[in-house]
């Protein structure tokens, strides 16, 4: 079997995550969908590493995971801050930058 199907699976997971980001309102569920997209990208990277016969793609996936961990820490801190001032975790309520 060609590794093509792994990449197709990654594309499907990525678009499910993208739909989630567009559809959901709660900031934390939004974060879960972003994690889904990052994971799909990691799956594609590991598949490319398998296609090329080198380990570089796996190392990039590893780095992406560490960056994702840092991103979640900062993002959740910001969400908690917004929740403390506006008493809501909905992204529609964080609209002070509009207009």
């Amino acid at each position: 079997m060609t590794p093509m199907w792994y990449i197709v699976l990654a594309a499907v997971l990525f678009s499910i995550g993208a739909v989630g980001v567009l559809v959901r309102r709660n900031a934390i569920v939004l974060f879960m969908c972003v994690e889904l997209m990052l994971n799909a990208a990691n799956l594609a990277l590991v598949t490319f590493s398998r296609i090329n016969g080198t380990l570089d793609g796996q190392i990039m996936a590893f780095f992406a995971m560490v960056v994702a961990a840092a991103e979640v820490v900062i993002g959740l801190a910001i969400i908690m801050l917004i929740f403390r001032t506006r008493r809501s975790a909905s992204v529609d309520d964080a609209n002070l930058l509009k207009y």
Binding site: T2, M4, F14, R24, R25, N26
Partner: protein, 168 residues
């Protein structure tokens, strides 16, 4: 005539689990259940990593994503939503999003299928921790060090953001 191996069957089954759980993350109306479905998806993707012979990445996936990130997300859910239960105000109008998602998904899938259809698997290297460590500390030392600085910056940033008396 292609031979269907056990790995192919595993890929199909686990891929179906991953896609189904991902759809549940996007569509459930319970915040906590969304987090638990995310655990299922991430675990299924870890199994796919194992099938691709990326052992180290698979275990890092279990440790960092399932072990740390999901726990952090669930903590945030509990801190921001005191009565846990079904929420009715979670979704926006779905049709534009579905259009965008289906377009990007179909576009990406057909593009990848078209580009990689003829590529076989070349001499699969096993991504064990030993080999990955050798590669990281021989060819990827600088990005690795930059990553440690990034982690430190994230740590300091999170502390500063969550300080109670942070004067703006």
């Amino acid at each position: 005539m292609t031979v269907i191996t056990l790995a192919d069957i595993m890929f199909g089954a686990v891929g179906l689990v991953a896609v189904g759980a991902a759809l549940a993350v996007v569509s459930t109306s319970h915040l906590v259940r969304a987090g638990l479905w995310l655990v299922v998806t991430l675990g299924a993707i870890a199994v796919e990593f194992l099938l691709l012979r990326a052992e180290f990445v698979a275990w890092v996936q279990v440790l960092i994503y399932v072990g740390a990130i999901v726990v952090l997300l669930l903590f945030a859910v509990m801190l921001t939503k005191a009565p846990i239960g079904r929420s009715t105000d979670l979704d926006r109008p779905i049709w534009p999003a579905l259009l965008v998602g289906a377009g990007s998904g179909l576009g990406l899938a057909t593009l990848f299928a078209w580009v990689y259809a003829s590529d076989g698997i070349s001499a699969p290297p096993v991504g064990s921790a030993e080999k990955l460590g050798q590669n990281i500390f021989r060819d990827w030392v600088l990005p690795f060090e930059v990553l440690s600085v990034l982690l430190l910056a994230a740590l300091v940033g999170a502390i500063v953001l969550s300080k109670k008396d942070a004067k703006s």
